[in-house]
């Protein structure tokens, strides 16, 4: 099983995401062969013009959705970390939806079972990343996010000296 540090998931950069929802349309197009954001595994959130972020499954360590399912319909793949849904076992009760802190689990309007980002296993790579016009989406590990955060904060600290070295 991959460790926390090597498990990759789709994450949006809040500085780049503009809330255009291209990711939602891409997901429903690739997965459902239709255009319908209510059938997308990733959802764009716009709180105000400055606060935009697309949110999807983060492949948690010890995922609360798996623990919450009373019918053991959800399991986490040992190989990739994605949450697998046993569509026969799922009865759409929604406890997993409630358990997810990210709102990353959706109930399918027609099949009435839940569906979750699977990193586009069939396509080989997440298609929302391929289509995002802002290049705001990326396949990352939490360790990489931490590295990026560290670099940002250090850059801030050394703002002045970086300026002088770049001339």
């Amino acid at each position: 099983m991959p460790t926390t540090h090597s498990k990759k998931f789709v994450s949006a950069d809040p500085n780049k995401c503009v809330g255009c929802a291209v990711c939602e349309y891409t997901c429903s197009m690739m997965k459902e062969k239709t255009y319908n954001p209510t059938k997308s595994r990733i959802r764009a959130v716009r709180l105000n013009p400055f606060a935009n972020l697309a949110v999807t499954c983060r492949l948690c360590e010890d995922p609360p959705c798996v623990a919450a399912c009373p019918r053991d319909a959800l399991t986490q793949s040992e190989e990739t970390g994605i949450i697998l849904v046993d569509e026969d076992a799922c009865n759409g009760c929604g406890w997993c939806i409630e358990a997810c802190d990210y709102g990353a689990i959706m109930l399918h309007p027609e099949t009435k079972v839940v569906y979750i980002c699977d990193l586009c296993q069939e396509e080989g790579k997440p298609q929302c990343i391929e289509w995002c016009p802002e290049e705001a989406l990326d396949l990352v590990t939490s360790d990489l996010l931490a590295q990026k955060a560290r670099r940002t904060v250090v850059k801030k600290l050394f703002q002045e000296s970086l300026k002088s070295t770049s001339g």
């Binding site: 255009c20 349309y25 197009m29 319908n36 209510t38 013009p49 400055f50 935009n52």
Partner: protein, 626 residues
Amino acid sequence: MSYTGRILHVDLTSGKTAIKPLNMKLAKEYIGGIGLGIRLLIDHSKPGTDPFDPSNPLILATGPLSGTMAPSAGNSYAVVSKSPATEGVAESKAHGFFGAELKRAGFDAVIITGKSEKLVYMWIDDDSVQLLNADHLQGKSPQETEEIIKEELGDYYVRVMSIGEAGEKLSRVACILNDEFRAIGRTGMGAVMGSKNLKAVAARGTKDVNVANLDEFKEFIRMIHERMKGPKTRKYRTLGTPENVLVMNALAALPTRNFTQATFDGAEKVSGEYLNERYIKKIIGCATCGMRCDHIAYVPEGPYKGTTTRVEFECLWALGPNCGVDQLDAVIEAINQCNYYGLDGISTGVIVSFAMDCFENGILTKKETDGIDLHFGNPEALIETVKRIGSRKGWLGNILAEGTKRAAEKIGKGAVKYANHIKGLELPGYDLRGLKTAALGFAVSFRGACHLRSGAYSPDIKGSVDRYKLEKGRGKIVMDLEDQYNVIDSLILCKFSRGVYYDGLEDMARYYTLATGIKMSAEELQQAGERINNIARLFNIREGKGTRKNDTLPPKIMTVPIPDKGAAKGSCVNQEEFDIGLDDYYEIRGWTKNGVPTAKKLDELGLKTFAGIVTNKAGKPKKGAK
């Protein structure tokens, strides 16, 4: 098939609703958006109906690409009605998120008639349509209304279009706003909504929108996405349309102080460069679009600290240079107030500049303005006047809320000399005195003064014609552009994306066919554009607003030469060249000298059933026409 095939009819008087099929023959002939909307308008209205009469239909029309992933078109809708500003065709389009939601609820169009007894909002939840009490929303801004409705319906993905106080109070320049900053801006549609006691329409759609050929459609939009990263959209993605300020200023085509000068001494301070450096905090985008153009300004300090609004060229020009105001934070606040009250920012700016011009020329005094010093360039006076227009406050606010044309008539004392409108719609930011192809295009536009009915400023600015004169040949340029723009507005493509269709109508026809499965050629699309222009003209003729006497230019454009130094100095449009332009345009359109479509033309376009509208007028020029 990306049409839903359904039209929702709502009668606000009785509260009854009905879902009727879309006539697919009309769908192909009029495409969707404004084309389909105008056809539905002429079919569902009686001649001479007052725009505020309950029977005047307010039509929301999505396009064949709405709800799909088509960049810039997937998110759009149009509103069509009879305009309280022009008493002719009213149409306007907006992007954002609302249009896609309406489509997913399952409608190609919604035809709203009647008048509710009390203020209500319409809640379209897929097939369920309800009218809900809106007492608590009275006087609220569109932004507040949107937030309250989402909260009370318990779904943050509900999309809302709504009016502000200006619409409720029937200001003829009231707009409709959706998704915070996107406006059905022009021709006073907010007032028509207000006249029906309809505060908002909220929509939630959960249905699939399917295209006929998904694989090829996917490839096509992939290509459009790529092109959108290229040079054709550079302006919109970088400085945004405010880039125009310095460009137009350099050309002496930036109308300043109510079209008194054509260059602005304070241009640098209200330029796109200045704006982006100091105020633009983020550039965001509409649903499905890969371009992103929404420049969101935030005022970090000073008296307007905290003001946040979308800024684009037209409103910036109307409330800035056009009012002689070079204080950009005040202009941003004035735009913000337009959004708050739900006012068309272009028209509002031109009304304020008109009032300022009247004040400068002694037609209005501090007695009429309640002590406001309405000199050009006074930022506080600008903002206060916008608020008064939005709320109809005071004698002047109440009169100005009627729009420039009616305000000038009421004020009298020669105020009409300073009224910059065509057919009752205020001029946008192009100085027609030195952009004469645009002057012709604006004069013949079916919705009144508008840069987006033909984009006829383009050949002038690019220099492909001599912009200081009108001559034979301009009629065809205007017609071709109009027909193409009619197609764009019926597919409801965002005009900012028009450059990415490298093969023009060929690309658009392919787009249409991939989505709808209906065969369409570039020629057929061109003809649809022509048909739409003719049906709009027929509506205007039917309402007594569509002949030569209505195709005019404001007095300032025809009598006050550009005073600024440089190549443009001395330029204005004279009657002789204007008549040459009109004659040329009518002839190429297959219209009479009086600007009326001939029976032959109507037959050619499949509009024979409307021949009755023209039989009394064809070939009989009114007195004074050539």
